[in-house]
Symmetry: C2
Subunit: 174 residues, 2 copies
């Protein structure tokens, strides 16, 4: 997820690590803050994999900046990761939001629609949280107000996203 965000932000423009961190923090930081000790090793990994290149520039105020640029392999890798997200990326809301944030970089409406359809299929799967034996329990059947709330909120979320997904897929297809 972090790597996807790095590739995604760099696809638009070269950035240095510190600026990258600010953008990632704006995108997902309120939920899961990005530690510097996670970001810099991730940058190094991607660099060693040949997905991005760095050029050192004198820092405007402090230490010299390492400006990061995606290589051609890096651009291809981002498109590949967007076109074929892992199951994790589809099911985990945090990861899915990251995919969505950069899906426009997949400049192919059919490919974009295919990704949205995978999310749609996932949300359409009958998923419950609590079971009585094999039978899945509905919100109304629960005594516990917190579990009821959990189901209620999850259902509302899902409804909102489903209708957005259906609209968007239709307009991508049309």
């Amino acid at each position: 997820m972090l790597e996807l965000a790095i590739l995604g932000f760099l696809y638009d423009a070269p950035l240095h690590g510190y600026e990258l961190r600010k953008r990632i923090t704006a995108l997902t930081g309120h939920v899961r803050p990005v530690a510097e000790s996670t970001l810099y090793p991730a940058i190094k990994r991607l660099e060693q994999a040949g997905l991005l290149a760095r050029t050192t520039q004198p820092g405007s105020v402090a230490a010299p900046r390492h400006v990061l640029t995606l290589t051609e392999e890096g651009r291809g890798e981002l498109r590949r990761r967007l076109a074929e997200p892992a199951r994790h990326d589809i099911t985990d809301e945090n990861r899915w939001f990251t995919v969505l944030a950069f899906l426009r970089h997949l400049d192919d409406a059919a490919g974009q629609a295919a990704v949205l359809r995978r999310r749609l299929a996932f949300l359409e799967e009958p998923a419950s949280f609590f079971y009585d034996g094999d039978r899945s329990l509905r919100a109304e059947e629960l005594d516990d107000p917190f579990r009821r709330g959990l189901l209620t909120v999850a259902r509302a979320t899902s409804r909102a996203e489903l209708s957005w997904l259906r609209d968007t897929i239709r307009s991508l297809d049309g």
Copy 2:
């Protein structure tokens, strides 16, 4: 999050690892499946910390079962984790749902309301995903349909949860 789920399920009744895994899978597995190689070490950790005890029973069909029971320390630890969740547990939806699933075990309406209020405060913070310099961008200002969708869905989710939170806090207080 995993440890919280283990403590939460065992608070109700002693279970063996395999059954525990099925319950956790039902709760959060559609989003983030729990690998056995994650669960068993986690059980061992909790056992070594003195939070749970195991007794071996002949297996009904296969290998002998290790039935896990919460110790008094374990019960206290669960209540402590529920009463004072880490910031992570409040902000990350997956973790938050786990907290909610077991919040009833905190049998103190004021404590429960306090936890809900923390989530409420978090959701009320003005959080944006995308910025133009310092200015946060609203859904309407974005060209990108996917980022628009992301904001739209996030807003709908948040609205649904906010209204549930306010109702529930009111009824816990009243």
